[in-house]
Amino acid sequence: MNGILKLAYKLLVNDKAKFSALLVGITFAVYLMMFVTSMFSGVMKHASANIINIGAPLWVMDPYVETVSNSVGMPAYVLDEVRSMQGVKYAVPLYSGGALVKLADGNYQTVSVIGLDDTSLYGRPELLEGKIESIYAENGFIVVKDAEFSKLENPHVGSEFELNDNRGVIVGIAKVRTSGLYGIPTLYTTYERAIQYIPNPRFTISYVLVEPKSVSDVPRIKQQVEALGYRARTKEEFMKNTEDFFLYKTGGGTNLLIMMLISFTVGLSLSGQTFYTFILENLERFGALKAIGAKNRDLVRMILFQATFTSFTGFGLGIALCVLLIIVAKARLPSYAAMVTFGNLAISFGMVVVIAGVSSYFGIRRVLKIEPFEIFRG
């Protein structure tokens, strides 16, 4: 390490009380920022669970649909029209809805029901037990083994239940990439059985899942769907729409913003104040360095190094703390919705850079202003 930077490093870390206070401030701020954004990311991932699990590249829906869980039924001709559009390789219907399951103990449990295209079973989950063709068996349902599985009294292949006064039989146990947001079990069945068992309005197609011939066909398909009075969204767009809905229409975005501001304020006030105090306490020594022959840019480098080192160390500790707590929480609560993403990391990193910048700016201003002459005057 360069001698001047090592001098800066030693001045910083050897003042254990100040250094600890600085680290606590940054770590806590990063932890708060990471935690709140990770929770939001986790919730968003769960909110988009069906989009992720079904995995279709293009989704056709009613224009008023804002999230995957709030579909608006479309008439059957939409499916036919989409199938005949240029650029469409194939298109299948998907049913997405909710129902009440009567359990053996007499209690009711709300479930999410996904009705897959009877012919292709497009979007089917990966089975842990049973065979996929069993879904065609009488009253056949596949249950997802996720954190909510136990709410159906841990069913096994052959378990029976009652769904809207219809008999249901578990013919397979499946796993999916992401469990849902609302804490309810998920059942898969065929589209026809779903609309037969669950009371529905006149139009029953929740979504039309489209496989385009090529990626370049997507814009053309979207235009044709729009001309029909409906909307086609890519998987990523639909997930983004879902995220935007939670961000801007539920108050979630405001809460997120408030928490981000709080963590930023905590970090800036704790660390900025402590760092500035650290600079003030060493001001005379910085002045002495100036008198001895240190150039302003040497002192600026020292302060920037100190601020950067503290901030990045705090950044690492904050992330480690957040990840540790998420791991512990997920071990205890499998459905716990929190997820560290590159986006979270980037936001926290940006905050840390601003804190380091602001802290060092005031320190640098003070140090550049000090006159070595003051050192002689004592």
Partner: protein, 231 residues
Amino acid sequence: MSKIAIQASGLVKWFGEGEAKTTALKDVSLEAQFGEMVYIVGPSGSGKTTLLSVLTGILKPNAGKVLLEGVDIWGLKPDQLADFRLGKIGFAFQDYHLFPRLSTAENAAVPLILRKRPWNEAVSEAEKYLDVVGLKSRAELPPVKLSGGEQQRVAIARAMSSQPDILIMDEPTASLDGDTGVAILSFVQKNVLNKDRCIVVVTHDDRIYQFATRILRMEDGRLKGSEKSTT
């Protein structure tokens, strides 16, 4: 004839404007040669510290010229002036200004570190100067574990570590008891002063006058005379 280390002429320095204007230096001229230990003495407020600051390139005079080893220091650019100070001038401050979080050896190595010497090499070099001031055994201790006299000696070792041609000591005995002050200046005279070095000491402690080659008296911003030390 000795070479001239410091040559200052017609130095004027004032602070403030209008009614608040205070003139700290009034047409001050002086010379100091290598091998000399020159004292600048006088009462508080007489302009000693201002003169020292002007002579070392820290405070720009309103008028006058300062030549250090023939270089017009106030004609240098700020970075050149900083380099000049770092290479040619050693400072022992009144309050020492040692870093409490560094070891004694690391404190003494600061000028070398500022001169971009590698850390370990600088500290190892500084230990030699700690040896000269009799503190090698305390090289690992932080300054707060040292007495006032020892801290002053660390400050001297720090000033010496860059092997300056000109050593500036500002009130070196101000924080020391009489015996320690005398011992420090005696040490400086015997071990630090040589024919290639000029030492300027600002003090008003007459117990150490005996070590001066020459004493310059300041009063009200003017040099009132120069005299050889009586001892």
